[in-house]
Amino acid sequence: MTAPTESAIDIWDDGVLVDPYPTYAALREQAGVVYLPKNDLYVLTRYDIIRDALGDPATFSSTALGFNPMVNEALQGTSLASDPPLHTQLRATLSENLTPRALRGLKVTIDEKADKLVAELAASGSFEAVDSLARAFPLEIVADLIGFSGHVKDNMLRWGQAAMQVIGPMNQRTQESFPIAGELYGWCSTVTADDLAPGSIGRGIFDAETRGDIPEGTAGHIIHQYLGAGVDTTIASIGNIVALFGRHPEQLELVRENPDLVPAAFAEVLRYWAPIHIWGRTATRDVEIDGVTVPAGAQLGILFGAGNRDPRHYENPDVFDVTRNPVDHLSFGYGPHGCAGQGLAKLEAHAIIDALARRVRSMAIADEVREPSNITRSHEQLQVVKVVAA
């Protein structure tokens, strides 16, 4: 048995979290799996290895997907933290309202909201893109979807951020976020059908519980997962869309000339900058990866962004190219735990890209600020200093 090579890198170092790509490249060139003693973690770095691991839940269990025992304990019984066959039932319940077929009716509304918001911003001359677009848009869509308003809507951003943050190791960010994630958990445990707008998907989940279609007491858990998973990630993606089109005006021009490129452009945004930095698995047995042995019980960290830039899989991987159409990128994961909300994420992001391509001729960006965050990689601030409306 050959042990994996080691690296002294701390994958949750502030500098790495803000700009992980040089670290990803170094780890990926070192080996397909690298042990990080500082994090007691085996990271997977290459495309094929990551995809194979995601497709093999029997060997790579999700029961410890988080990087501290408290969060793994809290997630027990959710589809996120379970393996087949239990996972199959939980996943079906979770995804029933999120499949593309279930969401088809929302497309027109989402497109209209994106167009209105982007048209206003494009006409304003300059705007701060994180608060006014990357956060504002998904928060409104998710609030409408679940059917809440008032104080819940006001707390959604910090709750959603905290829910992702606590998946990290027990560092200061995680410790500070647990009480906030607890507020979200508390609300989801006490929310009732009457709290949610009639006709909303959130209300529908409670109706399904009343009918006995899903087990008693699960409606709140499902809503918890929608809010925990669907807010911070989409915010990251939309910020990345604005930043990448700001940095690469010729790529925006390509989409403006050919709107059929909208889905390909979003796939490339996700490939180029993965919204989720790292996600956990546990080895259920001694497993050989890339010629070395990872021991049973080891904690693994999947580096989606490292796999997405693997030159063994993508040509010129460090180039942002909206014509590439990398439909097999890893940012939604893959296999039984592949992102359940990807249909909704695509609806939202495609609506934003389509609106930008129609409403914006060019935009110049400045003050791109990212704060270190354990799991999600998003902008804290992004100034569009000059936007020229189309």
Binding site: G55, T88, A92, S95, L98, T99, P100, R101, R104, V327, D328, F332, Y334, G335, P336, G338, C339, A340, Q342, G343
Partner: protein
């Protein structure tokens, strides 16, 4: 080779249809229909592409 669908796992993301429109399609209810389950030659490559892009690994190719 035969294209096999794990029906409960399929969520109708539709990437397979984009990769292999002659072999499969989503019907009006968003349910996947495999129009040509038995594939060989050029169709086999297209089928492999469809299997590959399924984000939830609901498709596979089974041997003779």
């Amino acid at each position: 080779m035969r294209i096999e669908l794990d029906r409960p796992r399929c969520e109708g993301h539709g990437l397979c249809e984009e990769a292999a429109p002659k072999l499969m399609h989503l019907d009006d209810d968003g349910e996947l229909v495999i129009d040509t389950p038995e594939v060989d030659g050029a169709d086999l490559d297209t089928a492999k592409a469809a299997v590959r892009v399924c984000p939830v690994a609901a498709l596979r190719l089974a041997g003779q």
